[in-house]
Amino acid sequence: MSDGVPSVERVSGTGIYVRGNDIDTDQIIPARFMKVVTFDGLGEFAFFDQRFEDDDTETDHPFNDHRFQDASVLVVNGNFGCGSSREHAPQALLRWGIDAIIGESFAEIFAGNCLALGIPTVTADQASIESLQETIDDSPDTTITVDVDAETVSYGEITIDAAVDAAQRTALVDGIWDTTALMRANEAAIEETAAELPYL
């Protein structure tokens, strides 16, 4: 549909996990790294305060783990990405190398920001998520495939039923997630709506 917007039917790659519920966007990218006017270079600051001690020694956070450095599928738990609306959070993950996120649930603004970058946020039940996180830990070379169209996540012999928000699925599969182009086409209807608003 829009020029140059790829469809995202499925994402395949090795995995990385970040465990825990309510992981907020301040954790994903601390505010002090947002004193910038572009998103370039944010990748290295993903989960910064979880990855380094005060004396700069590395923690055992998965984003430091050498086994996961080429991972592109992130597996998380409940209410991931809550808090601040900062798009810097998914931008940092994308620039670190994440192309898809599987979780128990996502905060709304975060999921919307991911969609704007073409990153699927698909959900699955807690047991399936925890089992996948264990598999990644045991066998980091496992290829995980997130099939947005079929709403499944598969790895090895296992296929999990996943859920993808209907509009997200259509947008990604049909390659219409760049909403600027979509909406600019409706100038006449925009004018009409505005003309009817009493406060303008």
Binding site: D26, A31, G78, A167, T170
Partner: protein
């Protein structure tokens, strides 16, 4: 038509079309921007050679990175100066009004919109900031967006969204003495969870909500997002209209006010409106509330024991254990007596004039406890000026508080106002996330402005009702 909510009404009035991806395209009545989340959006527009469609409907301020001590230019922090300059370049090139610190109108974006009368009932309002939900206090549909969506709004004055469900939260009864809006919203988030509002818009109703002033309603709507709800609102009423009448939007144009009032009345939820969910909370049972953990849902009333993680639902246990370790609190204890290093009275949740007034009443006749750094950061330059006209600055300073310039300040640690090391802070802000106030080891306890004042005086978390000079009659 009947059985409709304010959300239905405002949505339909702004509905442009349904997009091929199934989302609705909504017209945006007011777009607010600030220096942190907008520069990349302007950059995206430049890359595509697109101009700002309706600059007159976007309003800019600078709040996150501005210093609250010396605001002279260039700012001493080079990164902050660059962000400020970038915003200035962008608004100048596109014809957007900017309220900078030389204007006398600068302040936190969610304080200046309402105080200038930009925020009105029945509008759609967006901003690249999750606390945009604040503006729902006026009966607007207001929500936070990401930077790519800011690009959309700048380019088209519209946004792509899916319609959510509506949960009515009815707070019944009368709030007790020294119990305020912040105690109500912290209690709501505890009851419904930090993700309870995902997929919902919250409608706040009931006697306790209707009795609140606009500042109180803003504090409540502000923290909708901490409960997972992207937007929250209160139906407009006489309290709302009284506020609007005083703003420059209508002070000299009563005809315009009268012309718009029928629209504001028309978008109110019907008495028989149908909700996807209804929750009732007994307002009379709410007591001063504080957080004990590292999410805004980890809340106790001041006399209640901190919960044992083992007694919590399984999915909350691990988070609770980690939070208690970080905060260094023990199950079974109350938060009363928890020692603090910093008292922060500020943020888009609680830095409006009435917040400062109620805190000043607590402070009168007391001094800040030894070793505590207490700071007041007014929400806007106008709040600051109004407070100074009635002498609040002198009362705070006499007690040993710092009286600072307007900005987001220590709510999120993007300027020099930050916790250091493992300092503990009694904070009137909205997020107690690990690291939120600038130090990864910092400990934040959220509470209302009166409780911040009480903690500043005693040096520890204190039930404001037990201070000897405070009358609870």
């Amino acid at each position: 038509m009947s059985e409709r909510t304010l959300y239905d009404n405002v949505w339909d009035r702004h509905h442009v079309t349904t997009l091929p991806n199934g989302q609705d395209q909504l017209f945006v009545g007011l777009h607010l921007i600030h220096e942190v989340t907008s520069p990349q959006a302007f950059g995206m527009l430049r890359e595509r050679d697109i101009e700002v469609a309706r600059p007159e409907l976007t309003h800019a301020t600078v709040d996150h990175i501005v210093p609250t001590a010396d605001q002279s230019r260039p700012l001493s922090d080079d990164a902050a100066e660059e962000m400020m300059s970038e915003l200035e370049r962008n608004v100048r090139a596109s014809g957007i009004q900017l309220d900078d610190p030389t204007s006398g109108n600068q302040g936190i974006v969610h304080v200046i919109g309402p105080e200038q009368g930009l925020t009105q009932p029945g509008m759609t309002i967006v901003c690249g900031d999750s606390h945009t939900s604040t503006h729902g206090a006026f009966g607007a549909l207001a929500f936070g967006i990401g930077t790519s969506q800011i690009r959309d709004v700048l380019a088209t004055q519209t946004i792509a969204m899916e319609k959510q469900k509506v949960r009515k939260i009815e707070v019944t009864g009368e709030l007790g003495p020294h119990v305020g809006a912040k105690d109500v919203i912290l209690t709501i988030i505890r009851e419904l969870g930090t993700d309870g509002g995902v997929g919902y818009v919250y409608e706040y109703a009931g006697e306790a909500i209707e009795a609140l002033d606009m500042e109180g309603r803003m504090s409540i709507c502000n923290m909708s997002i901490e409960g997972g709800a992207r937007a929250g609102y209160v139906n407009p009423d006489e309290t709302t209209y009284e506020w609007l009448r005083e703003t420059e939007a209508f002070a000299n144009t009563p005809d315009e006010f009268e012309a718009l009032k029928p629209y504001w009345e028309s978008i109110r939820s019907d008495d028989d409106a149908v909700y996807d969910d209804v929750v009732e909370i007994d307002g009379s049972a709410i007591e001063p509330a504080v957080t004990w953990g590292t999410t805004p849902g980890q809340v106790v009333h001041i006399n209640e024991p901190i919960p044992d993680p083992a007694d919590l639902p399984p999915e909350k246990r691990e988070t609770a254990r980690a939070a208690q370790e970080h905060m260094r609190v023990e199950p079974g204890e109350t938060m009363a007596g928890y020692e603090i290093d910093v008292a922060f009275l500020g943020s888009c949740t609680n830095a409006r004039l009435s917040d400062l007034r109620t805190a000043a009443q607590i402070v009168d006749g007391h001094t800040v406890a030894p070793g505590v750094r207490a700071m007041v950061v007014p929400g806007s330059q106008r709040v600051k000026a109004a407070a100074e006209r009635e002498g609040l600055d002198e009362r705070f300073e006499a007690a040993g508080f710092e009286w600072r310039e307007a900005g987001c300040s220590m709510c999120l640690g993007m300027n020099e106002d930050q916790l250091s090391g493992d300092q503990a802070s009694a904070s009137s802000s909205n997020r107690n996330f690990v690291g939120r106030q600038g130090s990864p080891d910092g400990r934040t306890v959220l509470m209302g402005p009166r409780m911040v004042a009480a903690a500043a005086i005693t040096g520890e978390i204190t039930d404001v009702r037990t201070l000897p000079e405070v009358s609870v009659a």
